[in-house]
């Protein structure tokens, strides 16, 4: 297979993996204020993602790193162009990261309340702003002949972009609720189930509008594939809703995972063969050809990925398996 195409797909897979895995991490953080009033209830929620959130976040680091390695022009244009939103995302991720570690270190309610608030904010803004970023990548932003973004801050927040942000935010919240429903017991699990039940329909509505709008923005090349992914995404969320109604919670979670992954696939299939679309002039768009590294670099990266990706997936999967048991709000069981 063509190396440039392979790496486009790999980058897409990394971002999809990130949105799924961090999706429920963000979701748990977003639901923290709503999952229970008692300290141990909030702690139980945090402890479900405790063993896995850091490794999940690495998917974003790797997605950024892989973008840099395989498509350095894309990395440069995207990250310098979306400067302020990325700054907010970084601040959010920093706050979230330390919140989990610091939160239960002191007994003070004020201290724990502070870190709960930062965990909430730190979980809310990344999916929102990253959804905005991806929508903009596809829709097109002002990019000049030097591959530099020439727009300002506010044109990043078009209606389509905000919709993209809202979509990923909603999907994360719902996935977080479903995850908690699977991983907790007692009052936390009941609250999670109730929240999930209320989120399905609003999230579905947002997703439908976003997918439809995305497909309208699709370039010609992979239009058919993009439509297929889009339809699968919507089918999966509907099926997930039905599964949840039928109390098939594992299926509901799995189907929503599929919905998120295929939603990301829809975006990337619509984007192909561009990686960043220029609204100034299509000739200035970044493509998998003009934004990429040399064939040698892509080959080296492919070999390294072929060796290590399976190993990583194996021990990450094992991590989830080790912590498969439900967590109840009992202080003796809570490490965070």
């Amino acid at each position: 297979m063509d190396l440039n195409v392979l790496w486009f797909i790999l980058v897409a897979v990394l971002y999809a993996g990130f949105f799924v895995l961090e999706g429920f991490d963000f979701g748990v953080g977003i639901l923290l204020p709503f999952i229970g009033k008692k300290d141990e209830e909030k702690r139980a929620a945090i402890n479900t993602i405790g063993p896995v959130w850091d490794a999940n976040e690495v998917w974003l680091v790797l997605a950024a790193g892989a973008t840099f390695a395989a498509f350095p022009q894309w990395y440069a244009t995207l990250f310098s162009g979306f400067y302020l939103p990325l700054l907010f995302i970084l601040v959010a991720l920093i706050l979230r990261g330390v919140s989990f570690e610091f939160r239960s270190k002191l007994l003070s309610a004020k201290w724990r309340g502070l870190w709960d608030a930062t965990a909430f904010i730190g979980s809310l803004f990344p999916p929102l702003l990253l959804g905005v970023a991806f929508a903009n990548m596809l829709k097109g932003v002002p990019i000049d002949a030097n591959m530099d973004y020439t727009g300002g801050f506010f044109n990043l927040f078009s209606l389509y972009a905000l919709l993209g942000g809202l979509t990923f935010l909603g999907l994360s919240a719902l996935l977080g609720a479903l995850f908690l429903n699977l991983k907790t017991a007692g009052s936390v699990q009941e609250n999670a189930e109730a929240i999930a039940a209320r989120l399905w329909i609003p999230v579905f509505v947002v997703l439908v509008v976003f997918v439809a709008w995305t497909l309208v923005t699709t370039r010609d090349v992979l239009a058919f594939l993009a439509i297929v992914f889009g339809v699968i995404s919507l089918t999966c969320i509907v099926a997930g809703y039905l599964a949840a109604r039928a109390k098939r919670d594992g299926w509901a979670f799995g189907l929503l995972v599929a919905a998120i992954a295929t939603n990301v696939a829809t975006i990337f299939a619509s984007l192909f063969p561009n990686v960043m679309v220029s609204s100034t002039d299509p000739a200035y768009s970044l493509t998998i050809i003009n934004a990429s590294s040399s064939a040698y670099t892509l080959t080296v990266m492919s070999i390294v990925a072929a060796i290590f990706l399976p190993i990583v997936l194996a021990y990450q999967a094992w991590n989830y398996w080790v912590f498969r048991k439900r967590i109840s709000a009992k202080v003796e069981d809570l490490h965070y």
């Binding site: 141990e40 490794a55 976040e57 840099f68 350095p72 920093i94 973004y149 020439t150 290590f308 912590f323």
Partner: protein
């Protein structure tokens, strides 16, 4: 300040901050792993308590190391897009490989380690912290492969005036990496050793839990002795390489204005950088040649000659980095390092001769000496990065040509302020928590619950 200066300041601040936490992660992961291995092999409860105590401090520090690292991954693209475009073919690969081989390893196994005490077998649980130690060390390797390319570009060919990767093995086995990597990792191990030794000394003075802290002190001393001696030896090798690969950096570090053969080592030099005149210049004749070449002869080029050479090779411009920063960073780094080596032998004395019976309040200086590795780590990085200026990639790209042209200075000022304030606050919280839990000594779990936490 203009956009370039702001971007440089931001990179310096975020990197120095990140490198406050990374060395301790490197060293303390290894030390904690050793302690848990002792627990698994000897079965004594005290080793488990040591693992949990030092592990708790490790985790507080690790968290801030991780989050400050996120910024690094993004910052190249955000603030240095021209740099990213220019070196992307070569520089991006080690960063991606770092994520794939190192970050995943440490991030996954730290989760297993923190939460898996009751779920994993003793051996598997100990293996987890070894994987964290391995992950952080491998992480250092790949980022230093990338950084070494900046100092001494290898394994590339120029295509349309842009470097393209031509030999991955040359990139990895860059001579610069061969000294930079062990030197940096060992400095991390030294940091861990001093952290453990210093805190242990505090508790030994107070006669708290003497068994736990004397055993900790022993581990730290053995580990620290090997590490500090190794670090100094490799540092010396790195300096010898510096004379060959980046002679201007050495000349600046030595405030050597004119080429000398044999070359003298500066004891104290105070220069006016504008005029190139030194008001004070106390030097040891021949010593710089000896350190550079293992013999008392051999030319070491001076700043003035190098400036002329670099101009004729690369065109008009100022190729002289800040003498003040390079000179004093070099001295502080080396001074702190020799003091640390001395203190490690003092630690040996505390162990073998005093048998941990500490009375005099002067021993609190051992606790204060935790500051020494931090001073050395920071000045080391200031020397190596600022000494490379005006180059961001030596001989290929100047820092001034590397920033993102489309990012307004106002944006950079915003991010600089945000990071400086946020990192500052995190540092305060981090140090506060470390001091609190270090002072508390070993405490049994579980973490108690708070009554009446208000909803979000």
């Amino acid at each position: 300040m203009d956009a370039l200066e702001l971007a440089r300041s931001q990179f310096a601040i975020t990197t120095v901050y990140h490198f406050f936490f990374v060395p301790l992660t490197l060293g303390l992961a290894f030390i904690t792993a050793i302690m848990e291995t002792l627990y698994v092999s000897r079965g004594e409860e005290v080793y488990k308590q040591m693992t949990k105590f030092w592990g708790k401090l490790f985790l507080i520090n690790f968290a801030v190391g991780v989050v400050t690292g996120l910024v690094q991954e993004f910052q190249f693209g955000m603030n240095w897009s021209e740099y990213s475009r220019f070196v992307g073919d070569i520089f991006g690969a080690p960063l991606a490989i770092e994520g794939l081989t190192a970050f995943f390893l440490e991030a996954t196994f730290i989760g297993l380690w923190v939460f898996g005490w009751d779920k994993l077998s003793k051996k598997l649980h100990a293996l987890s912290i070894w994987m964290v130690a391995l992950g952080s060390t491998v992480s250092a390797l790949w980022i230093l492969v990338a950084n070494s390319f900046m100092h001494h570009p290898v394994g590339y060919e120029l295509v349309n005036d842009r470097p393209i990767l031509s030999n991955f093995w040359e990139l990895i086995f860059n001579e610069h990496v061969m000294t930079q990597f062990p030197h940096t990792v060992l400095s991390g191990y030294v940091t861990g050793a001093f952290f453990v030794m210093g805190i242990s000394a505090y508790h030994l003075l107070k006669k708290n839990n003497v068994e736990l802290f004397s055993k900790s002190f022993k581990v730290a001393t053995v580990f620290g002795l090997f590490a500090i001696v190794g670090m100094i030896m490799v540092g010396h090798a790195q300096a010898q390489l510096m004379v060959k690969q980046q002679p201007m950096k050495m000349a600046a570090a030595e405030a050597l204005w004119d080429s000398e053969d044999p070359a003298s080592l500066s004891l104290l030099t105070i220069s006016n950088e504008e005029t190139g005149e030194s008001s004070v210049d106390i030097r040891i004749p021949g010593a710089l040649s000896f350190l550079s070449y293992n013999k008392f002869t051999g030319e070491v080029k001076g700043i003035n000659d190098l400036q002329k050479e670099l101009e004729s090779e690369y065109g008009a411009g100022n190729y002289v980095p800040s003498i003040f920063i390079n000179y004093w960073s070099f001295r502080i780094m080396i001074g702190a390092s020799f003091l640390m080596a001395f203190l490690m032998f003092v630690a040996l004395f505390v162990w073998l001769k005093l048998k941990f019976k500490l009375k005099s309040k002067w021993w609190y200086l051992l606790t204060a000496s935790i500051a020494l590795p931090y001073m050395a780590n920071t000045t080391g990085w200031l020397l190596t990065e600022l000494g490379r200026q005006p180059w961001v990639v030596y001989g290929l790209l100047k820092t001034a040509d590397a920033i993102s042209p489309n990012v307004p200075a106002g944006y950079v000022m915003t991010s600089l302020a945000v990071f400086a304030i946020l990192y500052g606050l995190l540092m305060v919280v981090d140090v506060f928590l470390l001091i609190k839990f270090a002072k508390d000594g070993y405490v049994e779990e579980p973490i108690p619950s708070t009554v009446n936490v208000t909803a979000g």
